[in-house]
């Protein structure tokens, strides 16, 4: 940023000037700086500033209405001593792990399947995409009705399995939440993998076929290794996304039964906006930020150094 300010102070002369390019090289950055400015200001004010605000507010006991006073570690002591903090943290970690374990294999298999040449697969891809178009609120409301023991699927399909108290049982509710989230987001990751599988050179498969490798062998020896970078992209979006499944759970379960699905973001919302403890909520938010950055970096790291370099390259 220091360099940008010095550029700003130099006299404005843009590319239209016939002056020798080398002398004008640094000065001609001015139009670029101006082009980037609106985005930078917007991002600075409404994304980076709030990020710093989270840190600052976590050292206050602001109630959401009154004056904001710095009270040192008071809110942090509360954050660390509440049992719901640790409950929410454990649940959100469970959410991230379970989401990744269920959605990644399914998305890869479906993506590889959809990457095939048949025409009907394009139709399938359109239909697969539908859940992604619906709002989380709509999806949660739909599943609430579907799982109604009296008028939902249970009575229609006449299967006892649907008649369980899906949303009222502290264990079962997790299967529901994971399933609904998979229903909503597997299409997105499937499409990413579909695109990536299509980019794998066909000659690799032909060579493998000549060597006598079967479908399964080809999948594990060619498709999967070739999807490495895509897996990093998809996994990053998936795990950071799993931290933000707020709205779906909010509408579907309200965090219940009890505190069974009160994951960290939900706990933060309820603490801040229902309990008027914005300081504590900010402390919880900081945990989320650290978790998000840590997970994103962790996934990149797992993918190896060259992988993260290639990701940066893409930007």
């Amino acid at each position: 940023m220091a360099t940008t300010t010095t550029e700003l102070s130099s006299p404005p002369r843009d590319g239209a000037s016939p002056a020798p390019a080398r002398a004008a090289k640094e000065r001609t950055q001015l139009p670029h700086v101006l082009f980037a400015l609106p985005a930078l200001v917007m991002f600075g004010v409404f994304a980076l500033l709030p990020l710093l605000g989270v840190i600052a507010l976590s050292f206050t006991t602001w109630n959401g209405i009154g004056a904001i006073e710095f009270t040192g570690l008071t809110s942090w002591k509360e954050v660390l001593s509440r049992s719901s903090t640790w409950n929410g943290l454990a649940l959100v970690v469970l959410m991230v792990v379970a989401t990744w374990l269920t959605q990644t294999p399914l998305s890869i298999l479906l993506g590889a399947f959809l990457a095939g040449p048949q025409r009907y697969r394009n139709v399938l891809a359109v239909l697969y995409f539908l859940p992604l178009l619906l709002s989380s609120a709509a999806i949660a409301i739909t599943y609430k009705s579907l799982l109604d023991p009296n008028f939902g699927l249970a009575s229609g399909l006449n299967m006892d399995v649907f008649a369980l108290n899906w949303l009222g049982d502290t264990t079962l509710v997790w299967y529901v939440v994971l399933f609904v989230i998979a229903w909503q987001f597997i299409p997105f990751h499937t499409l990413i993998y579909q695109g990536a599988v299509r980019q794998i050179p066909q000659s690799m498969y032909e060579a493998a076929q000549i060597d006598g490798a079967g479908r399964v062998r080809q999948f594990f020896s060619i498709t999967l290794p070739q999807l490495k970078y895509t897996m990093i992209t998809s996994s990053t979006l998936m795990v950071v996304g799993a931290l933000t499944y707020f709205d779906l759970i909010f509408v579907l379960t309200q965090g219940g039964p009890g505190v069974a699905t009160r994951i960290l973001p939900l706990d933060m919302y309820l603490t801040g906006f229902r309990g008027n403890e914005m300081g504590v909520a900010s402390g919880l938010a900081m945990m989320l930020v650290v978790l998000g950055l840590g997970l994103a970096l962790g996934v990149q790291r797992l993918g190896g150094k060259d992988a993260s370099a290639s990701q940066m390259e893409g930007a």
Binding site: T28, L52, G53, L109, S135, F151, L153, D247, L295
Partner: protein, 270 residues
């Protein structure tokens, strides 16, 4: 022969899983209350009734729809323009100056939006914008920038350098190069970003929940949620509301699908 039994079986099974709830929503929204309580939930009731849709339309649905449209347009248009201009600088400007800028936006991809709602709430109050539609657009623009810039910059990088050099020889300014050359060349990426961000805006729930209060400022997802609270016992009406709220975005998707999918996969495959 391409025989992928596991993928194939899974593919068709997943299709059923995907379509069953959508089918349920559709048939239920055409059922009368009596039919809903009396008939099999997976079998459509005949004749279909449209009274549920009329009830939804009479419950200010038009206003919520308009709010959602205003917020989506007010978010997507400035967002795409800002992201495009910033991408141009990042790709065409000096590396030394703009590498840090690019990294800053990349960092944004890892920040969970939810984590910043308390300060955003404070900021919006201090700006005297609480309970306005503009309050929903500003943070959405900011948080849409990182991914948009990633996608647009990727596509801008594929524009051959020779074209820019040719315009240099003609004495064009950066401004002219940006709008006359870069803009048409990156149009598919811009449409991708616009459709995707419109989708996110249309389905946004958290910002409306926190930054607005009056019923006349509700966007569709929030309206749907409060509607569900009021009509908890009248599921067919709620399902009609779910259907109606989804139609505009399905139409938008039908129009922009080609771009959305190609742009998304191009960005992800790199």
């Amino acid at each position: 022969m391409n025989r992928n039994w596991l993928g194939g079986t899974l593919g068709w099974l997943w299709l059923i899983v995907v379509l069953l709830p959508i089918y349920f929503v559709l048939i239920t929204s055409f059922k009368s209350m009596a039919a809903y309580f009396g008939s099999n939930p997976v079998v459509p009731a005949l004749p279909p009734v449209i009274e549920n849709f009329i009830a939804v339309l009479e419950a200010d649905f038009g206003m919520y729809l308009l709010n959602s449209v205003v917020v989506a347009v007010g978010t997507v248009v400035p967002l795409v323009i800002m992201a495009f201009m910033a991408s141009y600088s990042i790709v065409r400007g000096s590396r030394r100056v703009f590498n840090p800028v690019r990294n800053l936006f990349l960092l944004g991809l890892a920040i969970p939006v939810q984590a910043t709602i308390v300060p955003i709430y404070l900021l919006i109050i201090r700006m005297h914008m609480y309970d306005s539609l503009a309050a929903l657009m500003l943070p959405a623009i900011a948080f849409g920038l990182p991914l948009s810039i990633l996608i647009i910059a990727n596509s801008l990088r594929d524009v051959p350098k020779e074209l820019f050099e040719a315009m240099d020889i003609d004495g064009c300014t950066e401004w002219q190069k940006m709008w006359r050359l870069a803009l048409p060349m990156t149009r598919p990426a811009l449409v991708t970003v616009a459709v995707y961000q419109a989708l996110l805006s249309w389905n946004g729930f958290l910002f409306p929940l926190i930054l607005t209060q009056s019923p006349d400022k509700r966007t569709l997802p929030l309206a749907l949620w409060s509607f569900q609270g009021e009509y908890a016992t009248n599921i067919p009406v709620v399902m009609a509301a779910v259907t109606l709220s989804s139609i505009p975005i399905v139409v938008l998707y039908a129009v922009g699908r080609r771009y959305l999918v190609s742009g998304m996969t191009a960005g992800a495959g790199k």
